[in-house]
């Protein structure tokens, strides 16, 4: 994947994006995901800047999704997407291409259908009330007579029935689908309740009776649709965020053609034998062997190892590694679908399957609820006939049971809680990708951390050095963008850079410090045998002097120890599974106070370690960031990834914490647990409500006004209870 972040130099080497251009009858189109746009000035700057480019007819930035749509005039002779990227970069914004196929499928059809249904149901419920309120008054012996009441009922039928039939399509189709599959979901009692309510209300109105429930049917549909809409919004938001994180940043590769020109193509089109250019700052798109060039690769996301890997001709490198210093030509030896990355994706899928067997709370409730309520209604019909009521009255009683027990509160209970919980987590910088993930997270009692990039910041930090040489070495380090040089320069603070500095990719930097030639880099580069070993090091040598050694280590995050302690205080077990070398892992484990750690693990071994924990009956939360963690993330009961993680890990994880704080892990677990408690309270309340309402309906105490008050009242109670998740966070 190529992201032209402002910090990366935009060079002629950058990928050519013409492969992402869509040509339509009205000209060429390009969709880009723009990073860093947040304000009114950004919109003006970007849209004006792009529209000023030759041939561009229209540019529009959607600030909510970050999507910039650029359209070229049909008359434009040539659409140049690279000019757009260059212009954006010059304005100070990073961007990545949208996958054209994904961009096409952006329109959220289901959400639109739900919103329209919600509008119609809202219209219905508001207007039916106009007739219901006068009709209710007739129930208390006010002056309205039987005929006026029937007239009122007819008018509410005229508005209510079409609205309900139109708006409740979602429930009917879902119920029908589930019945055909041979089981009953929550939509079955809802649909049955609505249909029976309408039928009975029509028959009552025809006979001039009192039991017409058009208003109840309309308000029920409206309230249930609110729950459904909230649920959909949550999923849509998570989906689009997840897309923005990975799928839309279509991974690109730069293929060299026969004449030696680099051309940007989607990574999935890479074939074995293709020659690819890997510019500094790019990720390697597929596995392959280096043909020419020298560089160092950051493989932290691939293997978990914090030390950069040296790459030269003949060295085999893996998809997902980040090129740090030099330009490389790579000969792909696998296609994109056979690379290590694709292998990981397959491991991930296998893990995800075991996760999909998880039964959601609401479905568990429906499994109990549906048979109980339906047999209760059937029993009340039989009972009423046995005590000698007329058939009409007996049916009325049974239908009343179905109406008042219609799972209105249940339908709202879980979505309301999940919306509130994910809203609160969003504020804390945690993105929840699905409601089921929160439920799984609430059950977790063991947390497994990856080391590099999770417990540690993933950046090298200077730990041992000779202070007298620091300032001289820093003069060379300031001229280089290598992570080790940057870490050195950071410690030295601002100061002058050396003269005539030249960087030898993969080796080091050379230049003049205070007039004396000097070198900073690998041991071999300064002309000595490295003492090396497990440590990350950099050597500095001035001509005619002895070499000086700088040692680097990957720092622990400042809140890592605090997070681990907070988890352990709550009785949650913590372990570390890392792909890095034992020495580095032990140092990190001791730093945060974890006894159970393992090092040098392959992705499959991480999965096995998690399976072993699960076999002991533990519910495991995996927190990881690398490509090597993706399979483990998918296998664990719940998973989290930091916002800087590899795309594949972010797509495997249930939650992504975008803030730089590891404490988010503890916060997320706390919110998930409180959400589960609220959901269970809501279920308990619904059960209690049904325990009172069902017998009342059985003995015939329910009339239209009681039904209306009881149903909206119970929905209100569950929604307010869900909001308590927010109340707690403010205290």
């Amino acid at each position: 994947m190529t992201v032209y972040a402002p910090s990366t130099a935009y060079t002629a080497d950058a990928a050519d994006l013409s492969g992402f251009l869509r040509t339509e009858a009205d000209g060429a189109h390009l969709d880009l995901l723009v990073r860093g746009a947040t304000c009114a000035a950004c919109i003006a700057k970007i849209e004006d800047g792009i529209e000023a480019l030759a041939g561009v007819a229209h540019a529009r930035l959607n600030l909510t999704t970050g999507r910039l749509s650029v359209a070229w005039a049909p008359s434009a002779d040539r659409a140049d997407p690279n000019a757009v990227v260059a212009a954006l970069h010059q304005l100070g914004y990073g961007c990545a291409p949208f996958d054209p196929e994904e961009a096409e499928g952006q329109i959220d059809r289901e959400g639109r259908k739900l919103a329209v249904a919600l509008g119609v149901a809202g219209f219905g419920v508001g207007n039916v009330m106009m007739f219901s309120v006068p009709a209710w008054s007739s129930l208390f012996g006010q002056e309205m007579g039987e005929h006026s009441r029937t007239a009122m009922y007819w008018m509410s039928a005229l508005i209510g029935a079409p609205c309900v039939i139109f708006a409740a399509q979602t429930f009917f189709t879902s119920a029908w689908r589930s019945l055909r599959a041979g089981h009953a979901n929550m939509d079955v009692p809802i649909s049955l309740g609505l249909i029976l309510t309408l039928t009975v209300s029509f028959s009552e109105t025809l006979q001039g009776g009192r039991h017409a429930y058009f208003d109840a049917a309309a308000s029920l549909t409206f309230l249930l649709l609110i729950g459904r809409y909230l649920d959909h919004q949550l999923r849509a938001k998570a989906r689009s965020a997840a897309r923005a994180l990975m799928v839309l940043q279509a991974p690109t590769a730069q293929r060299l053609d026969a004449e030696g020109h680099a051309r940007g193509i989607p990574a999935r089109e890479v074939k074995p034998g293709d020659r690819l250019v890997i510019a500094p700052g790019d990720r390697v798109p597929v596995d392959g062997i280096v043909e020419s060039g020298l560089s160092e690769l950051d493989v932290a996301l691939v293997t978990g190892e914090s030390r950069p890997l040296f790459a030269g001709p003949g060295v085999r490198i893996w998809a997902g590694a980040l090129n740090l210093s030099g330009r490389l030509i790579l000969r792909a030896d696998t296609g994109a679908d056979a690379s290590t990355l694709a292998e990981t994706a397959r491991l991930m899928e296998a893990g995800a399957q075991s996760k999909s067997r998880y039964v959601r709370l609401a479905d568990k409730a429906a499994a109990i609820y549906v048979p109980v309520v339906h047999s209760l209604a059937a029993a009340s019909l039989v009972g009423a006939l046995m005590v000698g009521l007329s058939f009409r009255d007996a049916v009325m009683r049974a239908v009343c049971v179905l109406i008042v027990t219609c799972p209105c509160a249940l339908g709202l209970a879980v979505p309301a809680v999940q919306i509130a919980a994910s809203g609160r987590l969003f504020r804390a910088g945690v993105l929840v990708k699905s409601g089921a993930a929160l439920e799984r997270l609430a059950e977790v009692n063991h947390v497994v951390f990856d080391k590099t990039g999770v417990l540690t910041s993933g950046r090298p930090h200077l730990v041992a050095f000779d202070p007298s040489a620091l300032q001289s070495a820093a003069q060379l380090a300031r001229a280089s963008r290598h992570p080790l040089s940057r870490a050195l320069a950071e410690v030295a603070g601002p100061g002058p850079a050396g003269d005539a500095v030249h960087e030898a990719p993969g080796m080091g930097v050379e230049g003049r410090v205070d007039g004396v030639p000097a070198r900073l880099g690998r041991a071999a580069y300064v002309g000595i045998e490295g003492v090396g070993g497990a440590e990350t090091e950099l050597w500095f040598r001035r001509q005619g002097e002895a070499a000086v050694r700088f040692v680097f280590a990957d720092d622990l995050r400042t809140d890592a120890a605090e997070t681990v302690a907070a988890l352990q205080r709550r009785g949650i077990g913590v372990s570390i599974l890392s792909g890095d070398l034992p020495g580095a892992v032990r140092r990190a484990a001791e730093g945060v106070g974890v006894v159970d750690w393992r090092a040098e693990l392959h992705p499959a071994e991480k999965v096995a370690a998690i399976e072993a924990l699960q076999a002991k009956g533990l519910k495991v939360l995996m927190v990881g960031d690398g490509v090597n963690d993706a399979a483990a993330l998918a296998k664990a009961n719940a998973s989290m990834a930091p916002g800087l993680a590899s795309e594949i890990s972010q797509s495997a994880a249930d939650l992504v914490f975008t803030s730089d704080r590891l404490v988010s892990v503890a916060t997320a677990m706390e919110v998930a647990r409180s959400a589960k408690a609220r959901a269970l309270e809501n279920f308990a309340f619904s059960a209690l409500y049904n325990l009172i309402a069902a017998p009342a309906a059985l003995v015939g105490l329910v009339n239209p006004i009681v039904a209306a008050i009881a149903m909206s009242g119970s929905s209100l109670v569950v929604s307010l209870n869900a909001l308590r998740i927010f109340a707690r966070s403010r205290r």
Partner: protein, 50 residues
């Protein structure tokens, strides 16, 4: 009492207007980019609306 047969259709007409209004806002894409639209209002020179 007969006045109700005049008032009721008027009331329903007004409610229908509201419903049609809602559909119109929906179709014209006014919910596509709430964040951007909130910002665009601060921009002085004329740019296309939501």
């Amino acid at each position: 009492m007969n006045i109700i047969f005049v008032l009721v259709p008027i009331a329903i007409m007004m409610a229908l207007l509201g419903l049609i209004g809602f559909f119109w806002t929906f179709r014209s894409g006014q919910y596509e980019d709430p964040k951007g639209d909130a910002m665009r209002i601060l921009d002085d020179h004329k740019r296309d609306g939501p």
